[in-house]
Amino acid sequence: MRLTPMRRTLAGLAVTAVIVVFLSVKLNAFRDFQIAEIATYTVAVAGLTVLTGMSGQISLGHGAFMAMGAYATALLLAHLGWPFIGVLLLSGAITAVAGAVVGVAAARLSGPYLAGATLMLGVALPSIANAYPGTFGGDQGLNVVYAAPGFLGANFPLTRWQAWVATATALVTLFLLANLNHGRIGRNWRAVRDDEVAAAVAGINVARTRVLAFVISAACAGLAGSLLAMTTALVAPGAYTITLSITLLTAAVIGGLGTLPGAIWGSMVIVLLQTYITDVATSHGLSATVGANIPIAAYGLILILVMLAFPQGLQGAVRRLVAGFAQPPERRGVPGGPSPR
């Protein structure tokens, strides 16, 4: 049976969902928490990979969009008391509007100028929380209070519920992004990315195409911020510094820029690596002070190694692996097989 790209995507997402539900029941509460974190970052990184990998715009300020989503969630939950799913969607929508505003400005910039403008956003926006401590709680931030829905039973672990919500959001987001990517909009993005002039000559509205990518990407970051607020039960400016923005970009590059499954790999690296390396370092007798610095060095090392060994990121490596094992070599690269990019 031949699988169309969309069917393949759906099958992959269904398998992922089953694996996550199985793991979340089987593993302990902290692993559930990590699953929720991975899913959360997947949403943000997927949005960034659409922006940077597919439409060719760079953003060093995506942490700021996550902050917007997170603060929107905290404020909506505190003041309106809506069910979480409504708050999640509204937070995404609010951030999409902000993304449109930034996107209009961004569409006029490119390369280092765009990087600079978004960097400024990433640095400046979290400070607003400090400027208005009455509304945003200053450095201490706002607490996010909510519980798992009652029908799951009083003893249902909150972390498992969070893992499910985050994973469901991530899978739906990935499905929708894959859908866009395989359609006309995705083709327009790639055309604009590869050659703006050629795209314009072909009748594509370059500015509108780029702004749309920004809006979608910002909405993803907003959803991720909302999920992060829910998982960590807190929104504070310290979480949304420029480091977060850079980490997201690192995850996108390690996973494979422009590939949606790469967002999952990249998020796994940034979430699991920190805990794992610190554990290894301290269990090998390194003092905690030294151990704490090793993950930072390890990020850099892994980024370099991945770039050297797999320039297409981890997803590029996976594709090569699948191509190498699943298909006879002579069929490689023919139409219907996985495309090389």
């Binding site: 509460a29 902290f30 928490f33 607490n143 209070v145 807190l234 805990t275 905690a288 704490a292």
Partner: protein, 455 residues
């Protein structure tokens, strides 16, 4: 061509191996789920066998967790605290432990970022199954996990921050403060200023968060509003304090009361020097450790291309101390902690941070002894609520079932030649606007000869 293909295959195989290894690791590390057992009455009889009476307690160990700024902006100075606590625990472990159990102290880096705090604390509680959180550092960071820890019923003892937020026995029954809170400290500093600098113009310089604002609240209880000529706050993320210092200078303030962390005390002093403005400084304990300050002053001045003598610059600075002065070689606690520091933590300088880490660890061990041979988590909470001996502190603890505040008083003193010299006896007070400040008449305790609190 062929070799290139082979190479590709080999890379693929390596990747497959990596993925398999990662899955294995994830599966292996999932085994340690912590169920909550509630056995053990906490009654102590020396014949009673040691049991795994609570999560994190086995017949041979007590596992504690903590979040600490080992990297990031708050790391200088504060990263010394957890290793110092650990040094004291190692000393106790080598001298019989707590009823024979050894303390395992697992502290993780949160980089002073509340979201990372939320992650590492969940790891410690849900994955590593610690018995208690001990000395989690920072107000914004620890506020991120208080409700989680209390929902999980994990004792959250001796938070390393003087925020009054840790005193909430009804909403956070498992959380306890330890160090002198900033409101009490502000009141005591304020009274000193009102009495000793009568008729002078006072300026405030404070951090724009709970720390600075609580301190100012205490100051305002004691210093008449008419004396305060200027109130300038700074944000710890912006190292340019020239506008604030210029405003203080313009107001004509002759005395500046500063609720600042050490780096900003140093910046206040140096920026003042640049503007040839040298008011009398009165600094909260948090920002006045002489060794840290002198070092920072010299480093900052060097970065600006100048050479200064740090100790000379802080001569005459007024501050307070709720632990004995590090430079007081005749104090039995200083002797004990210095000796332990030299054996187990010699790489760090013996300064206020190290003293803090050892003293808070001592307090924890004394609470653990009181909690009994086979304590549950609730036993530790009731042991602390029953009150703790004063130990190294200069004033008693406020612990009771209705108060989760720690140390209630401090002595005032002046820094000269890099050493804080005490002036008069310790003063104690409460956190209310009208509560009297009284001089503490009780005698300070002496350190036990064994170095370990007695059961």
């Amino acid at each position: 061509m062929k070799s290139a293909k082979l190479d590709r295959r080999r890379r693929g195989a390596v990747l497959a191996g990596l993925v398999a290894a990662a899955l294995l690791l994830a599966a292996c590390s999932s085994g340690s789920s912590s169920g909550s057992k509630t056995s053990g009455s906490g009654s102590s009889s020396s014949s009673q066998a040691l049991t795994a009476s609570a999560p994190g307690i086995t017949a041979t160990t007590i596992t504690l967790g903590s979040h600490q700024p080992l990297t990031g902006p708050a790391a200088p100075g504060y990263s010394e605290i957890a290793p110092a606590s650990n040094a004291y625990f190692q000393y106790v472990n080598a001298h019989g432990g707590v009823y024979g159990r050894k303390i395992v102290y697992k502290y993780l880096d949160d980089g002073y970022n509340p979201t990372t705090t939320a992650t590492v604390v969940r790891q410690l509680v849900l994955q590593n199954g610690v018995y208690a959180m001990f000395d989690g550092l920072g107000t914004p960071t620890h506020l991120a996990v208080v409700s989680f820890l209390n929902a999980q019923k994990v004792p959250d003892v001796f938070v390393a921050s003087g925020c009054d937020c840790w005193d909430a026995p009804s909403t956070a029954p498992y959380t306890f403060g330890w160090q002198l809170d900033y409101i009490r400290e502000g009141k005591i500093l304020g009274q000193y200023v009102a009495q000793h600098f009568k008729g002078k113009k006072i300026g405030y310089f404070y951090q724009d968060d709970e720390f600075g604002m609580d301190g100012v609240k205490g100051l305002d209880y004691e210093i008449p509003k008419s004396m305060v000529a200027a109130r300038e706050s700074y944000s710890p993320t912006n190292v340019n304090v020239a506008p604030q210092v210029a405003a203080l200078r313009a107001s004509g303030a002759q005395v500046i009361v500063s609720f600042s962390i050490p780096a900003f005390t140093a910046l206040l002093k140096l920026t003042g020097l640049k503007l040839s403005y040298t008011p009398q400084l009165v600094v909260s304990n948090v920002g006045s450790d002489p060794i840290t300050l002198a070092g920072l002053l010299e480093t900052f001045a060097k970065q600006g291309g100048a050479t200064v003598n740090g100790n000379q610059l802080i001569n005459g600075m007024v501050t307070d101390g709720y632990l004995p002065s590090v430079g007081d070689g005749s104090n039995s606690w200083i002797t004990l902690f210095k000796q332990i520091h030299d054996t187990y933590d010699a790489k760090a300088p013996f300064d206020g941070n190290v003293l803090y880490g050892e003293a808070v660890a001592y307090t924890f061990v004394s609470a653990m002894f009181k909690a009994g041979r086979n304590p549950t988590r609730a036993d530790l909470v009731s042991a602390i609520e029953g009150g703790l001996p004063q130990g190294p502190a200069v004033a008693p603890y406020a612990y009771s079932s209705s108060s989760h505040f720690g140390i209630t008083g401090t002595f005032m003193g002046t820094i000269s030649n890099g050493v804080l010299t005490e002036e008069g006896s310790a003063l104690t007070t409460d956190t209310t606007p009208t509560g009297a400040i009284t001089s503490y008449s009780g005698t300070e305790q002496q350190a036990p000869a064994s170095g370990v609190p007695s059961p």
